[in-house]
């Protein structure tokens, strides 16, 4: 059996805590023996929740008490500094001390990003750790890198994002020689804002990545690139608009179908297929967004994540550890310096 991967799971984070994180932990260890899940949070609350599952694999689940909870509305830097006994800070400290390999949370994105940087810390040479969710496309998934909180990136940051994203897609998602593109406002090489124009030639020169040039936003959902590189402000717009346009369109389609008897009958018939399609275009199926470039993996799952997403997040950590992603990142970053 492979070495056990130790994943700390924030039992207090997200809209559905502690119910869904605890359920995810129980289901994850039921499926795989090479995982140990360490639940951080209020011990009494977690114990009570675990009692719902009389038969879970006790030897693979541990509880580490943390008396505080960081709320989503709290200013993240202040919260991470002040709430030393919160589930997020306690969990990240375990990764820092190498008592665990990875940390998964559906809690405050800001606190997870801040904690990742100031507690877990960056791999030597990594300038800025990007948050890189997998987004659904008609062909599968692409990695959108960066969607983090640090905006106004420099060209050298984007080059590192391209490298880290390539390693992740190749080794964790399993895409051979992943196509890397930079988000641009046109396909022609002279297009772009100042940042893109400066970054483009650097990516072109970059060894070890399969750079295919610019990608226009229209082509992202069709999977033209496996690794979609952009500055975090733009990444945030892409990620949230994806969600918004999808939701708005579904709302309109439903309303449209229900406005006639013919449509209503048809709606009943297409419902299962429609549901299946929507599921495949739902980013929560893909297990959350890794924060890359840290000394240990941090995965941010949606605030509204259910057990299935959190479980996928845990499995991502296993793949990440077993594929030695951080060793690969450290090597690749140093190569070009």
């Amino acid at each position: 059996m492979a070495e056990q991967v130790r994943v700390v799971l924030d039992a207090m984070g997200g809209d559905n805590a502690p119910v869904e994180p605890v359920k995810a932990a129980v289901e994850a260890v039921a499926e795989r023996q090479d995982i140990k899940v360490i639940l951080t949070g209020r011990q009494d609350v977690i114990r009570k929740e675990l009692e719902k599952y009389p038969d879970y694999r006790k030897e693979q689940i541990e509880i580490v008490n943390a008396s505080e909870v960081i709320e989503t509305a709290e200013p993240p830097v202040f919260a991470v500094q002040k709430k030393k006994d919160s589930s997020i800070v306690v969990g990240m400290n375990m990764v820092k001390r190498q008592e665990a390999d990875a940390f998964v949370s559906s809690g405050s994105t800001g606190a997870v990003l801040v904690g990742g940087q100031v507690i877990v810390g960056r791999i030597k040479g990594v300038q800025r750790p990007p948050l890189a969710p997998l987004i659904p496309t008609t062909e599968g998934v692409s990695l959108l890198i960066d969607c983090g909180a640090n905006v106004d990136a420099r060209p050298s940051h984007l080059v590192q994002f391209a490298k880290m994203g390539s390693i992740y897609m190749e080794n964790v998602v399993g895409v051979k020689n992943p196509k890397v593109a930079i988000v641009n406002n046109g396909a022609e090489e002279e297009k772009g804002n100042a940042l893109v124009k400066e970054t483009f030639p650097l990516l072109k020169e970059c060894r070890n990545i399969n750079f295919i040039g610019s990608i226009e936003a229209r082509d992202i959902p069709f999977g033209y690139a496996d690794v979609v590189v952009c500055e975090a402000f733009v990444g945030n717009v892409i990620l949230k608009l994806y969600e918004g346009v999808g939701a708005a369109l579904i709302k309109k389609v439903k309303e449209g179908m229900l406005s006639s008897t013919r449509g209503k009958i048809g709606a009943l018939l297409v419902k299962p297929a429609l549901k299946e399609t929507m599921k495949s275009f739902d980013s929560s199926e893909y297990g959350g967004a890794p924060l890359l470039g840290l000394k240990g993996l941090v995965v941010k799952t949606h605030g509204s994540a259910k057990a299935v997403e959190i479980k996928h997040g845990i499995f991502q950590c296993v793949q990440f550890k077993q594929q030695k992603i951080n060793e690969k990142i450290a090597e690749r970053i140093m190569e070009d310096q």
Copy 2:
């Protein structure tokens, strides 16, 4: 009868020229008497096309010969300088000499943007003319300003976009006291890149606009704001991703429905409703994007525009002229200087 509005229409521009522009001209004048359409392009080609319509209102359509055509692939600055007898340059010169009030084209976006600035020219005080398409939302339409070719805007540009966009939405689209928001990577006031952080307080202080704060990309398709202000690179990403996510989702839904017999029957039944919905979420229904802040209106319709879109573009020009939008923009811009 109101004074006739003189609209120059590029008969050579777009994928469907001259068929669709000529059709649009014929249909527009059939519907309204307060319009005169001036078709620019190769006289013989336009004449031949017009012969298809034996009964059109001849007194409302004029042809002005232009022997050259600017292709979409040509570098726009060079093309506008060199092809003095192209349909775009000839048409814009008519607006400049006040022989026409507005210019509509489905041709090269770059050439239209360049021509608007260098031939038609800016209203005094306007720093940068924004391209502002109407985008569909679940509530109707919003104005996305700026989606033009000039990226890396300054805060003062964005403030002018907010003002011009408000005037347009109020007077051309008919939204009373339109809600103005700036695209941001979070709802909290401390969020934003350097540009947004600098622009936010300026918009807050701005008189005569109904500024409601930040808008996250997720909320754009739900019509939370009537005027969505952003820098052109971000605007381009929003506009194209709108299109891309919509198209990808429809493709997936169709595939999903056709994968089972039950779904196939249902698909037949929901088809009309689905088609209607898609139409309401199709930006081509809204008549193209105005290039604001010029001494005369310039409207860019899609390269793939059909007659109905071009006709709406022509009607937009009428509303624009009759509502004295440029006089209002000139006043509002000067007010705060």
